[in-house]
């Protein structure tokens, strides 16, 4: 290396570096390529290969399996129901999230801050825990159900949380947060002088909404809608627990696999993955079309409510909304202290105890899933941090053939539903076959961390990319020109710049991994069963208290990870990030 020789000679490396100019840079590019190749290969192997396996497997009998899919009433039902549920979920989530975003960013009212703090709470629930909470609240023996039954003096439960509407209900509750966050972010960035200009020109409030706010927010709204659609298509927990007899693609896939009908499972998986990818492409296309720079020079002005009727009605409504949002968390907490088996027909559990937690901590059989989840999440996240940092660095700061491929590979897992990822892994890593680039991982400890790793790749990579894009690329050149070796530059210049994204991405990946359910339920073994699978098992045994205790523990873990991340963020001296950010 040019720099090494210069240092050997005792001359300032910068002179040699500059003198060799182009040649030295090309040489450095070779080092970079040596980094890129293993990362690209790894991602091809873990992300693309399994999916190729699935698609190939679906054509194992030519078009036979596909014809069977088209002919099978249950499969057709699954596809149509999936699409229908997803569209309904989009409508429901938007109906809640959109007005909420406007309300919380544009209007001043009592209780606004509380509502704002609580509004994103549903997203903080691990998916299965959310489902469990809904069961405790609105299920047949749920708190609200029983409450209403008693209140109205009915003989039977007023409703059963089952079927399509139940799934949409659960989706609406969890997924409105996407719409709310996207639209609220769009509104915060909204240049308020545009609104003032429109008002000054004589446009009333509704005219401004119709001709200004909504059109400018379309990218944000459309993006959120597509995200809800994709999440809905791949959703497993809600249909699994509340679907009743209703079939959706995700549950159909798991059923086929459990029945040993792998070929059908592959076809169903391919259909699911294709629909998700189609939605993603539509999203990308929409984002490219409407690129309005909203400069956000305005102040965030909130208007007080003028109409006395609204002023009387909104605060109690806000409180009711807050309660509705917080209730599932509270319910889970409550039931975690309920004695297993004691809660049968009463509105609330009758007996309370600390036993559930005690048993969790002391019985090895019960503690095992917790240990598993934490360990597997750690392994997966560690791998994510290393691989995604390198990948993001290469994508943002280096130019080389295959860079676009790397960027695509890194984003791909985001488009593929977790069930599809799981089926792909099951289809690929089910035997040792070096020539076919297979390793036996199914049935071992490692298959789940691999699944978590794959799911975490786009999350960590995009977060690190975001941080690195804010760094002035000239910093690297400046460091090298001053004589720093490549390793020193990475450690002292690039890594500090990437740190915020690394911490944020790793946090999200770890939090998702620790509570992951959808892929786990396809790939787990008794030995490496994670918390989520255990919760399901406890629910099946009607051990609600234990199930709730696990859920509380999971929430605690999520909180703990987030706090550690905050602490790590706080430790970063401001100079380092500022300097790294240029």
């Amino acid at each position: 290396m040019a720099d090494a020789t210069a240092q050997d000679e005792g001359r300032p490396p910068s002179a040699a570096y500059l003198a060799l100019g182009r040649a030295a840079r090309d040489r450095r590019a070779l080092d970079v390529r040596l980094l890129a190749v293993p990362v690209v290969l790894l991602l091809l192997w873990t992300v693309v290969y399994p999916n190729v396996e699935v698609v190939v497997g679906s054509f194992a009998r030519g078009l036979g399996l596909w014809r069977a899919f088209a002919a099978s009433p249950s499969d057709r039902e699954a596809l149509v129901t999936s699409l229908g549920v997803s569209v309904a979920s989009v409508v429901a989530a938007t109906a809640i999230g959109l007005p909420l975003a406007f309300l919380l960013t544009r209007v001043e009212f009592r209780g606004r801050r509380l509502l704002g703090a609580v509004a994103t709470l549903p997203a903080a629930l691990p998916p299965l825990v959310g489902v469990v909470a809904f069961l405790f609240l609105y299920g047949e023996s749920g708190l609200v159900t029983r409450g209403v039954q008693r209140l109205l003096g009915l003989a039977e439960a007023p409703w059963t949380l089952s079927g399509v509407w139940a799934i949409v209900f659960v989706h609406a509750y969890t997924m409105y947060v996407y719409v709310y966050l996207f639209v609220a972010a769009g509104l915060e960035r909204f240049d308020t002088t545009l609104d003032e200009a429109a008002a000054g020109l004589g446009a009333g409030r509704w005219h401004r909404l119709r001709r200004l706010s909504l059109p400018l927010l379309t990218p944000a709204i459309a993006g959120a809608m597509l995200l809800v659609f994709m999440s809905s298509m791949g959703s497993f927990s809600a249909p699994y627990v509340f679907g009743g007899g209703v079939r959706v693609l995700a549950t159909q896939i798991v059923a086929s696999k459990l029945n040993g009908n792998l070929g059908m499972a592959y076809v169903e998986t391919t259909v699911l993955a294709l629909s998700a990818v189609a939605a993603l492409l539509l999203l990308r296309w929409l984002e490219r079309r409407r690129q309005y720079t909203l400069s956000g020079k305005g102040r965030a002005t909130r208007r007080a409510i003028r109409s006395p009727f609204a002023r009387a009605v909104v605060p109690p409504l806000a409180v009711a909304l807050v309660l509705l949002l917080v209730l599932p968390h509270l319910m889970v907490l409550l039931v975690s202290f309920a004695r297993d088996g004691a809660w049968t027909t009463q509105v609330l559990p009758p007996e309370y105890t600390l036993d559930n937690f005690r048993r969790l901590a002391t019985q090895p059989q019960l503690w095992r899933p917790v240990r598993n989840s934490v360990l597997m999440a750690l392994v997966a996240t560690a791998a994510n941090v290393v691989v995604c940092f390198v990948a993001a660095y290469l994508i943002v700061l280096r130019r080389f053939p295959g860079r676009r491929l790397l960027a695509l590979l890194v984003a791909l897992p985001w488009a593929i539903p977790a069930t599809a990822i799981a089926i792909g892994l099951a289809a690929t890593f089910n035997r040792n076959d070096p020539l076919g680039a297979r390793v036996l991982l199914v049935g071992t400890f490692w298959i789940l961390p691999l699944a978590y790793f794959i799911r975490g790749v786009p999350v960590v990579a995009s977060a690190v990319e975001g941080s690195l894009r804010q760094m002035d690329p000239a910093l690297e050149d400046a460091a090298r020109g001053l004589g720093a070796s490549w390793a020193l530059t990475m450690r002292r210049v690039v890594l500090p710049a990437a740190r915020p994204g690394l911490v944020a991405g790793a946090t999200l990946a770890a939090v998702t991994a620790v509570g992951e359910f959808v892929a786990s339920v396809v790939l787990y073994t008794h030995a490496n069963r994670p918390i989520s699978v255990e919760i399901l098992a406890q629910l099946r045994s009607l051990a609600f208290g234990t199930a709730a205790a696990y859920s509380v523990l999971l929430i605690g873990l999520v909180l703990g990870i987030t706090l550690v991340a905050r602490w790590m963020d706080a430790r970063t001296p401001p100079d380092a990030t500022a300097a790294a950010a240029g």
């Binding site: 002088t193 545009l194 200009a197 008002a199 020109l201 446009a203 200004l212 400018l216 909203l294 400069s295």
Partner: protein, 384 residues
């Protein structure tokens, strides 16, 4: 349109109010003792202004002087805590606009960063005000295109606004505000975001257009040159208070107070003894008796400062002759004039004056005599 000066000898001049004009003609905008506070900070303190119909008034001041807040109150984006904003209608009746929201005031506003709607084309932007007034599509687009022709952008109507340069965007913003035939036009720093090369031409075009349309206009700027070039009258604000309002000449020749003298143009303020119509300035042991702009019947100021403008001073080389003795400390050739800094007097009482002269002969270090070549000279109170 007169300006008022503080009562002679007053330590702190009261907020200079715009003297009551004769019964305001239609289209006159009046701000009457308008005040706005943000928490404990008073942004605008009892400002009173009158903009006559067809007049161009500039609000000038440093950042934080309250000029933008005053403009926003005139537009309706802020409501004054006290005071009133009125408009005299065509029937001669005064309408109180203080609590009327912006969408119903019928004013046009040009924002500092233009605030063009990014998702609409140029002509849709310009037509928006007409759209809000219910004008039919074909009609409003035709009027928009006319307005665009007026600002020199005819034919640009269908382009997206992002494709325009800064100067072009400003003209679109202007066309948009003007096409609705506003009662009053408000402009927030209309020239601040333009390239220096563009500013002068835009300045002239803007003034010409506003005069041609007989618009009543109030605009805000931190640049006094822009204000002097465009406005009929200038109002100087500082710390939320109105210091003085008058024609540019009045502010320049007869500053009402020390802050006005210091802000407007360049000047050196030197201690002077007020003798009524004259003042005596002693520097370097030499006294000069100068005619001042003060009214002869007023009571003399206890502690006064003479406002010496660079172009009013002349210097002559050598030790002899009239004028204050001094030494040239710096010399800067500026084309038509040469700017000298001359230190007059010695030691603690030395004063450095700036003078601009067509005469280039003096050099740094020369001993010269400085005298006032152009009288009268303005006089302001020293305590401020």
């Amino acid at each position: 349109m007169t300006s008022t000066r503080p009562a002679p000898g007053a330590a702190a001049p009261p907020a200079a109010a715009d003297a009551a004009a004769p019964a305001a003609a239609a289209g006159a905008l009046a701000l009457d003792r308008v005040t706005r506070r943000f928490g404990s900070h008073t942004a605008v303190d009892g400002v009173s202004l009158q903009v006559a119909a067809g007049e161009l008034l500039a609000l000038v001041g440093a950042s934080g002087s309250g000029k933008t807040t005053t403009l926003r109150m005139a537009a309706g984006y802020e409501t004054p805590d006290s005071g009133a904003i009125t408009l005299t209608g065509p029937d001669g009746k005064q309408r109180d606009l203080t609590r009327v929201p912006p969408e119903r005031r019928g004013f046009g506003m040009v924002f500092q960063h233009y605030a063009l709607f990014p998702h609409m084309s140029v002509e849709e932007n310009v037509a928006f005000g007409l759209e809000a007034r219910g004008v039919k599509r074909a009609d409003r687009l035709a009027r928009a295109r006319d307005a665009l022709r007026t600002v020199g952008l005819g034919g640009a109507g269908e382009r997206p606004v992002q494709s325009l340069s800064g100067g072009e965007q400003q003209r679109v913003a202007l066309a948009r505000a003007v096409v609705i035939e506003p009662r009053v036009l408000l402009l927030d720093e209309p020239l601040s975001n333009l390239d220096p090369t563009l500013r002068e031409t835009t300045r002239d075009e803007l003034r010409a257009m506003l005069r041609r349309l007989h618009l009543t206009a109030l605009f805000v700027t931190h640049d006094q040159e822009d204000a002097f070039a465009i406005a009929d009258r200038v109002a100087l604000l500082r710390g939320g208070r109105l210091l003085q309002v008058g024609t540019p000449e009045e502010l320049y020749d007869r500053p009402a107070s020390r802050p006005v003298a210091e802000f407007i143009g360049r000047a050196t303020l030197v201690p002077a003894v007020d003798e009524g119509a004259h003042a005596v300035v002693s520097l370097g042991g030499v006294a000069q008796r100068l005619r001042t702009t003060r009214p002869p019947d007023g009571a003399p100021l206890a502690r006064a400062l003479a406002v010496l403008r660079p172009e009013a001073l002349a210097c002559a080389g050598g030790e002899g002759g009239d004028g204050w003795p001094g030494v040239v400390t710096s010399r800067r050739f500026a084309g038509a004039t040469t700017v000298y800094h001359v230190r007059l007097g010695d030691g603690g009482s030395a004063v450095e004056v700036e003078l601009a002269s067509a005469d280039r002969t003096a050099r740094e270090g020369d001993r010269v005599r400085v005298r006032v070549a152009r009288e009268p000279v303005a006089l302001v109170a020293a305590d401020e």
